[in-house]
Amino acid sequence: MKDETIKNYFLGTLSEAESSSLELEIAEDENLFEQSEIVENELIDDYLRDVFSLSEKQLFESNYLTTQSRLEKVKYTQVFLSNLTKQPREILVNSEPHSFWKSINANYKLYKAFALSGLAVLVIGGIFSIWQIQQKSSEIVVKQNSNQAPTPIVVRSVETANSNNLITKTNANSTPKPSNILKPAPTPEVTATPIIKQSNKPTLATFTLFPGALRSGGEQFIKITPSTDKITLRLVLPKDITKYSSYNATIKTADGEKVSTFSNLKSLNLTLPANKFSNKIYLVFLSGNSSESIAEYTFRVNRLN
């Protein structure tokens, strides 16, 4: 499905037959529905950022902005875009397109530090060389630490040049090359203001489910927080059902996809990892030890951020 068709649907430029058929397609296909939501968001962005032509703007206002719910969407988008541009500079620093000059500017202090340390090394190296010439010493060895700024850290005379791979043999008259000294170490990433992370201590959440509850009025919700590690579903038996010695339970999504199966359960507590659940409707089918159906439980999962 092309985004353009969905965009035209929202702007009301498709024929009635095309619109009806598209609505059905979208309603029955979860992926297409998600695509339509993306296109819808982008349309709202474009409207709020004044990117529309005059005719598109008119179409949007007369054909899209027709319900309270859509008005709310525009309102939320406006808040979202407005707040995003007001985020701390630390987050936005890395957002700017990477240009050479900008990176030079951003890392100015870093380069300055390297340049100064390089200069210091040159001076020290020069003094040392003069001293060495005077002493008529045979060799100097410059050791470089590959993980730090490539500045000569230790300058010393050695008896055996091959004792260490990191030791480079040089001539007594040679000074460290500026190109080696000034070459900056890999630029460290600019870090944002530290954020106090929420505690991720794993927790077990227990929810009690009552049989049925397919309807909106009595819908059962399960809210899963990010720290929830495991979930226990405690199933309540229907009133007139006598207890069985063991139970079988199957958890499925509303679309029929199997999530988990439990057999020969002695209690009506189903424990499973929280990551098995996403924001969907789930059904639990409970049966007795001889496979007769006992009850069905429906609940909607709401994963909290």
């Binding site: 009806s20 609505e23 059905l24 979208i26 309603a27 029955e28 529905f33 998600e34 939501e37 993306i38 968001n41 950022r49 990117v51 206002e61 007369s62 899209y64 902005l65 027709t66 319900t67 309270q68 719910s69 859509r70 008005l71 709310e72 525009v74 309102k75 939320y76 406006q78 808040v79 979202f80 407005s82 707040n83 995003l84 541009t85 007001k86 987050i91 936005l92 890395n94 957002s95 700017e96 397109p97 944002a192 954020i195 929420q198 397919l214 309807r215 909106s216 009025g217 819908e219 509303a254 679309d255 029929g256 409707i281 059904l283 089918f285 159906s293 069905e296 429906t298 909290l304 951020n305």
Partner: protein
Amino acid sequence: MSERVSNEKINELLKALSPEGEEAATAYTKLQNSLVRFFQIKGDFDSLEAADLALDRVALKISQETKIDDLTKYAFGVARLIFFERLRQVEKERKAADGFYANKIAEYKVKDEDSDIFRLHRECFESLEIAEKKLLADYFLDLPYPKQNENRIQLSAKHSISMVNLRLKVFRLRKRLEECLRSKLN
């Protein structure tokens, strides 16, 4: 909200969907989800309630022993009618149809940015991971229109994902923020 139909009538609908209990429940929920999506794309505020209303009417029709060849198609027909009924109801309350909501947008545009909604949204934003915040900031960088597209292409290359997946990732983050904001507002 209109009165709900009885459980007996809902059971008849379930039987019409499938004689097998488990299959019927699955089919019911699947149809309910599709109807919810239908109302969402139409821009209905309470899509779940509207979907249940449509299912109630279908159940009522079945209880009157009316033969329905294609239940899904019929349910969507009913849903369409319900949407227009609800829309008409809203329009009755509107003084002028055209530009009504557009004028409302203008009101939001001048809203005080220190108001609760902005503050609550900022709280939701703070709950995101730093990488997620950076992704949103990168994606919605305020650039002129053609440059914004170029920026997003570069961003997809930087993250080594396709543009389709990048859009999806950003959309899901936005949705999380919207859900967070809604829950804080309610």
